[in-house]
């Protein structure tokens, strides 16, 4: 069934189709309509889940951590400062290897207060041990939410499904709601390795020593460092799992085929603009204009940001003349985080392209197509003149 609805409603339908059993959330703009919709589903009896209206985002993720530890599929959603308030719980959920899924409806961070879109919230949490997927439209939101549970439960790592506040969360566009029977065929039920149970008592998340230590039977148990190494190794393995899940999804639903990077007019391109989220669709117009001018440029939207698909990045970008990274976030005092990641991925390649960095759209600053055209043209024409420092687009000072 196709409907015309908001991105938040697309996400809510994905959660419903994924048969989530415990939902906990705290209101924050622009995530709120998503959790309102979920509470509506539960209250109307359309969804058989526990909806827990907690008193903070910290508690929202605490509820999900405990529900997942008790063996139920759990979901929450937040934005901006709400995500930051969850910070210690983000690390905890990943360390405890809990397959929680969370929608992050991207918004800038205070202070000063802003309710508008940028990516600083999710980017600042990139090292928490969560998988991060970014969406460009409503169809991707609903599809990615469903896939996220499969991914999280396959690799036992929590997943953030990120999409742009307002630009996607509050705009309306058509998308298909998959059939429940198809989703049930695609997504296996949640079977945790262990769930809290008095018949099988276990003490979870105990104090763990720096070194390995034998258990009561004399078998060696991992120390803190082995446990952390396993999280990293499984995150790296998740890159292939993302690809496998995309194939399976595509077979059933006929959508996907871009598990890591979604490209536009990258054929015979010498330059490629790279970014996260809906901006890559905006850049398609820009690329069309520049192609008219004869500039061989394309755009690549990264779907998977953590784990970082560095091989896919190299395969796509290593032989280009220039890579232009547009970012709605910044590692203050350095440069864009994605910019640094892309440069690191390309460092080992033989022919290193020039890599440029543009910072734009912070706190919802309007991103004008004309500005994007000028910036991208400039990077393609004067490839050597553009330096290593990030250039701000649309700054008025």
């Amino acid at each position: 069934m196709h409907i015309i609805e908001s991105g938040n409603v697309a996400a809510a339908n994905g959660v419903k189709l994924a048969n989530v059993k415990v939902i906990a959330a705290y209101p924050i703009t622009p995530q709120t309509p998503l959790t309102e919709k979920l509470s509506e589903f539960v209250d109307a009896g359309e969804m058989d889940a526990q909806y827990i209206p907690v008193e903070s985002e910290h508690s929202a993720l605490s509820v999900c951590i405990a529900a997942s530890s008790t063996g139920s599929r759990a979901f929450t959603a937040t934005s901006a400062n709400g995500l930051l308030y969850m910070n210690e719980q983000l690390h905890w959920a990943a360390g405890a290897r809990l397959p929680i899924v969370m929608c992050v409806v991207n918004r800038g961070i205070g202070s000063p207060w802003t309710v508008w879109n940028d990516h600083q919230d999710a980017i600042s949490q990139r090292d928490t041990g969560w998988i991060q997927l970014y969406c460009c439209d409503h169809q991707q939101i609903i599809d990615t939410v469903i896939q996220a549970f499969y991914l999280a439960e396959t690799v036992s790592v929590p997943v953030m499904v990120c999409y742009d506040g307002y630009i996607l969360s509050h705009t309306y566009m058509p998308f298909e709601i998959p059939k429940q029977a198809d989703v049930d065929k695609f997504l296996p039920s949640f079977k945790p390795e262990y769930a809290l149970n008095p018949n099988q008592p276990a003490n979870l998340n105990t104090v763990t020593l720096p070194d390995v230590r034998p258990d009561v039977r004399g078998d060696m148990a991992p120390g803190y460092m082995e446990i952390r190494h396993n999280l990293h190794a499984d995150m790296r393995d998740a890159i292939d799992v993302v690809g496998d899940i995309d194939k399976k999804f595509n077979q059933i639903f006929g959508r996907g085929e871009n598990p890591y990077i979604e490209t536009y007019r990258c054929d015979a391109a010498e330059f490629v603009a790279v970014c996260l989220g809906s901006l890559s669709y905006h850049l398609r117009d820009v690329v069309d204009i520049l192609r008219e001018e004869g500039i061989p440029v394309g755009v690549a939207g990264l779907r998977l940001y953590r784990p970082f698909p560095d091989q896919a990045i190299r395969d796509m970008l290593a032989d280009l003349k220039g890579v232009i990274v547009f970012e709605k976030a910044l590692s203050y005092g350095n440069q864009g985080a994605l910019f640094a990641d892309i440069k690191a991925a390309l460092y080992s390649s033989k022919n290193r392209p020039k890599v440029h960095n543009y910072i734009l759209g912070l706190g919802g600053r309007e991103i004008k197509t004309a500005h994007l055209v000028d910036a991208l043209r400039n990077s393609c024409v004067d490839t050597d003149k553009v330096g290593d420092t990030p250039v701000w687009i649309g700054l008025k000072m």
Binding site: A24, E55, A66, A67, G71, L196, P198, N203, L204, A221
Partner: protein
């Protein structure tokens, strides 16, 4: 009225292994052993950082025979909510959920999540063992540290503020059962937990728990000091059941009786050394006024 448990009919099921990591004379090890007997085997525990985290052992060895979810400091009651949510979703509602936190994890960093869970009416038992400071991190002041007490963050003149009255705060949420207990009266605690198990919604039990290392006394006096806190009238054992407040156990027996002077309690512990005679006399006056009101209200 349920019959009082005695040492003769107390459950012989030991759910806490001996040889755990608690200090000698630890009040928590008394209340935890007895408390788990009362909770029973069909229980899931939720525990934030505290001495209890250490008591329960280091990975991969555990001192407790109940399933336990260790959680972050501020999240205890929210995590208990999550366990309950999952149990409800799975139709496993007969399993009891009990959160067990220290005074810092309850009265300070944990109070927001606890207040939220009480307001939502979550069906769990929250037990606070109050040793009146952050003992696990080395005796720093907490919201429930009494006035005048020396801690490592009130090192010379003692804490200037009063003890936070957590049971009253929780009772203000209008929940059906709030009780206080003491490590010196474990069977009273046992009966209160057993009663709490029969009730729906949030239940809160606050246990005064002497700590030899943090309070500065010989480990063999844990029970004696716990009793003195009650016998001096400083710390009262009571229940608030369906909004009805009543003194219980050893405190109830003090109604109309002569109480031990508070000084005798203070003299047993190093932590009260900064108290001046004037402060002690002020505290005695406060206790006398409180008990005069008890005597008038509850005496014959």
């Amino acid at each position: 009225m349920t019959e009082k448990t005695t040492i003769l009919n107390l459950s012989e099921d030991e759910l806490v292994h001996p040889g755990n990591r608690a200090c000698a004379g630890c009040g928590l090890s008394i209340v935890y052993r007895i408390g788990l007997k009362a909770l029973g085997r069909d229980t899931i525990l939720v525990v934030p950082p505290s001495c209890l985290t250490v008591l329960q052992g280091l990975y991969p060895i555990a001192a407790t025979q109940l399933p336990c979810l260790n959680v972050t400091f501020a999240s205890t009651a929210a995590a208990a909510t999550g366990v309950l949510g999952a149990l409800k979703a799975q139709g496993r509602e007969s399993t009891l959920v009990a959160a067990w936190a220290g005074d810092g994890g309850t009265s300070d960093i944990g109070i927001q999540a606890l207040s939220g869970a009480c307001e939502r009416g979550e069906n769990f038992i929250f037990i606070c063992y109050d040793n009146e400071a952050y003992m696990n991190t080395g005796v720093q002041r907490s919201g429930t540290t009494p006035q005048g007490v020396i801690t490592t963050t009130t090192p010379f003149s003692g804490k200037s503020q009063k003890k936070k009255d957590v049971p009253s705060i929780i009772a203000a949420h209008g929940i059906d059962y709030v009780a206080t207990a003491s490590a010196a009266y474990p069977l009273d605690l046992y009966d209160k937990i057993v009663k709490a198990k029969t009730m729906n919604g949030p239940k809160y039990i606050h246990i005064h728990t002497p700590c030899p290392a943090g309070w500065g006394f010989n480990p063999r006096f844990t029970v004696k000091i716990g009793k003195l806190a009650v016998e001096t009238g400083l710390y009262d054992l009571y229940e608030i059941e369906n909004n009805k407040w009543r003194l219980t156990g050893a405190s109830k027996k003090l109604i109309g009786k002569k109480r031990t002077p508070v000084n005798e309690y203070f003299n047993t512990q190093n932590r009260f050394k900064a108290l001046s005679d004037e402060q002690i006399s002020d505290i005695q006056k406060e206790v006398d006024i409180k008990w005069q009101s008890y005597d008038e209200t509850y005496g014959n």
